[in-house]
Amino acid sequence: MRNPIDALVERMARGLARRVSRRGFLGNVGALLFSAAGLPLLPVARGASPAAAGPAAAADRGDPQTCEYWRHCAIDGFLCACCGGSAHSCPPGTEASAVTWVGTCHNPSDGHDYIVSYNDCCGKSECGRCLCNRNEGDKPLYMPFKSNDYNWCAGSKVGISYHCSTARVVGVAK
């Protein structure tokens, strides 16, 4: 006696084979895949998304793993982009110190001065890669909120161990 499930599947398969040519089926599957990839390109209310603080991708030139990258104009420490993180995120196992210092960097690609927050990543020993010490706008320690010589991990919740520094764009000064 035939299993009823076998019979049902056979009936459906034979029906499908009668109705659909192999090429037509493959063509439709291909078209479906293509259109699925194409749909995100359709103009769907992108104008409504809020403007990001950072520059457009085309105007964000340079390598975040180099000291010369425009956002690093006032950084003092190891670049997190070389340490498993990025210019704006901490490597795994570290935590950003919320308390930090804030300055501006000129982006030569679009001519704007961006407000950059130099949050240190804390909780692990020093990363040791890509040491970068640029001091545009840096002030002596007696102006603490304008000095990059502080270990800003003193303001973190995970302790004073300094690992690396990020450069987060938080606004546009001019």
Partner: protein
Amino acid sequence: MKLGPFCAGVIAVACSPGALQPKAAQAIMLTPPVQANYMLNCMGCHLADGSGAAGKVPSVRDSLVVLSRSSAGRRYLVQVPGASQSPLSDLELAQVLSWMVRNLSARPVPADFAEFTAAEVAAYRRSPLVDVRQTRARLLEAD
């Protein structure tokens, strides 16, 4: 369902010249100057929302409205070292303080809130506040 016409439409849109051109450069939205001054001179410690860091930097969210009600509180807000010693001019500092009261307070700002003025800042700023913590505690304990 025939997928042909639908896919032709998708291809037409996806391959049209407009779709293939890079998006026009987004207009950069400048940060309002008063907020930029807060970011550059205060936000590093007080954070974007004024909440600070517990045990290290006091939150301003509950204290701004209380302090800005009395002349002694307003004097404190101008004289506190981070404010009085900032590189901001008297007018800029007055604008930043008013902006903070209006934008960082967790409490409702009273309708009769008086904006800080450059003259008020100039009057208070030149005399130093020595005992910051005790002054702050005394001003807030009545609340």
